[in-house]
Symmetry: none
Subunit: 269 residues, 2 copies
């Protein structure tokens, strides 16, 4: 067996499991302990894994994913004040007893806080949203079937029968990557797949998009503007964007950003 071949095997083993022992890797590669140790040492200095006594572990262990997960967390601090205000305005549209769909995303996640005092029927493909609502509120929580993707933190089914067909909602709330004349744009193909399924299950599609989203573009077009019932955004929206929505007969809801938060936003910029 070639050296690089072993390295591949070792790396894949380490990435699939939090820890692997030297003897495991011996059995896996057919090499002796001495060789495996040498390999681990090499990969350690190359920072491909971390060497530990008795074996090796992944360099960035999954340890505690969840709401604080990296891909999720980095997005969460961006425009947090706007997102919060937008989420609040979105939740204000709901009354106790409503059935709604919340699509996973960092903007929509902010809805959980105003939702704590509500009693809705919430269908969501977002694991963190489901978790939060379950623990912090009395809303009824429903989820689709599928595998839980750690990166995006959503539940996604490769099959058509994920249970969403049986849920009908008055409103579906979703975020997006960008919002342009062509329609709603998403960045992640996985999200697109999940969202396509859900959109058909709601009467009204409400898009949560802070004003920066009108300047974003992406290659993945999810639906045309006229499918959208309303857009909730912050008061940073430009006239041109507002006119674009008006032309497509999309209702525009501008969420007031709290004064204190506006200040912190100004500092960031």
């Amino acid at each position: 067996m070639l050296e690089t071949e072993r390295h591949r095997i070792i790396l894949s083993a380490v990435q699939e499991r939090p820890v692997v022992s030297v003897s495991d890797l011996c059995a896996l590669t057919g090499a002796s302990e001495a060789t495996v140790r040498r390999d681990i040492a090499q990969l350690h200095v190359a920072k491909k894994l971390r060497r530990i006594r008795g074996g090796a572990e992944a360099i960035a262990p999954p340890q505690f994913v969840g709401i604080n997960a990296r891909p999720f967390a980095v997005n969460q601090v961006i425009n947090i004040a706007q997102k919060r205000a937008i989420a609040q305005a979105a939740v204000d549209l709901c009354e106790d007893g409503d059935a709604i769909i919340i699509n996973g995303g960092t903007t929509t996640f902010q809805m959980v806080h105003p939702l704590t005092t509500k009693r809705l029927q919430v269908f969501t493909n977002s694991f963190p949203i489901a978790e939060h609502l379950l623990k912090q509120s009395k809303n009824t929580v429903l989820v689709p079937a599928g595998a839980i993707y750690r990166e995006q933190n959503i539940i996604l089914s490769p099959f058509d029968e994920d249970g969403s067909r049986h849920f009908h909602a008055r409103r579906m709330f979703m975020g997006c990557r960008g919002l342009g004349p062509l329609g709603l744009m998403e960045g992640d193909p996985l999200l697109v797949q999940a969202e396509q399924k859900l959109i058909g299950q709601a009467d009204q599609l409400i898009v949560l998009a802070d004003s920066s989203k009108f300047r974003q573009r992406s290659s993945l077009l999810l639906c045309p503007l006229n499918r959208i019932h309303a857009v909730v955004t912050d008061d940073g929206i430009e006239d041109r964007a507002a006119q674009m929505l008006e032309a497509a007969e999309v209702r525009l809801i501008v969420a007031p950003v709290a004064a204190a938060d506006r200040k912190s936003r100004a500092q960031e910029e």
Copy 2:
């Protein structure tokens, strides 16, 4: 067991409950008290947990004081040592890559700790199990569609299409209310419905039942004994119960309860 592996399991256990005792961790890791103490000391200086007399506690546990904590937690302390040993023995049946189904329940929940270092495909209707595995392990986690019931902490769909039909597993693990000559008995009609659906999706049905379950009776019969492939129990099982299983050609797996725990159990009785 590798040192790092133990650390992961310890952290996983500490995350789950506010405090864990040294003897609990011994049973969980199979290590001696001395080693567990050393581990706790290490993790303490690494600020991964807080060391307390008799065990360890999470560094910032009450992240969410779950509503679900109550009905779940009361059951969790009953026969905890046996449940853990049983869960460990059950997990020992699995190899990396296996596809398994874990039905929700307090006994099966104990499987999450030994599972932290595994890499399986896990389909579960238990929200806490899904949550824990997602955050603390690299296992692939799949869930059915449905509403999340706070009492039982399971995901339950009133419809047939809950996604489980697309998942086929080598083994299904489940707890039960009681185990008698007539078969497997459950206490909650909601659970019965969920379990009926899942049983058909696995080749082997493995039942986790501490020895007290052989004395329990219930009105809800889930399936006959001969549908069960194996029963995992603790060494408190009586001969009569063992003979009953033998007559039905059910494999019996007796999990050894750690010495320290055996002692505390003896006192309780």
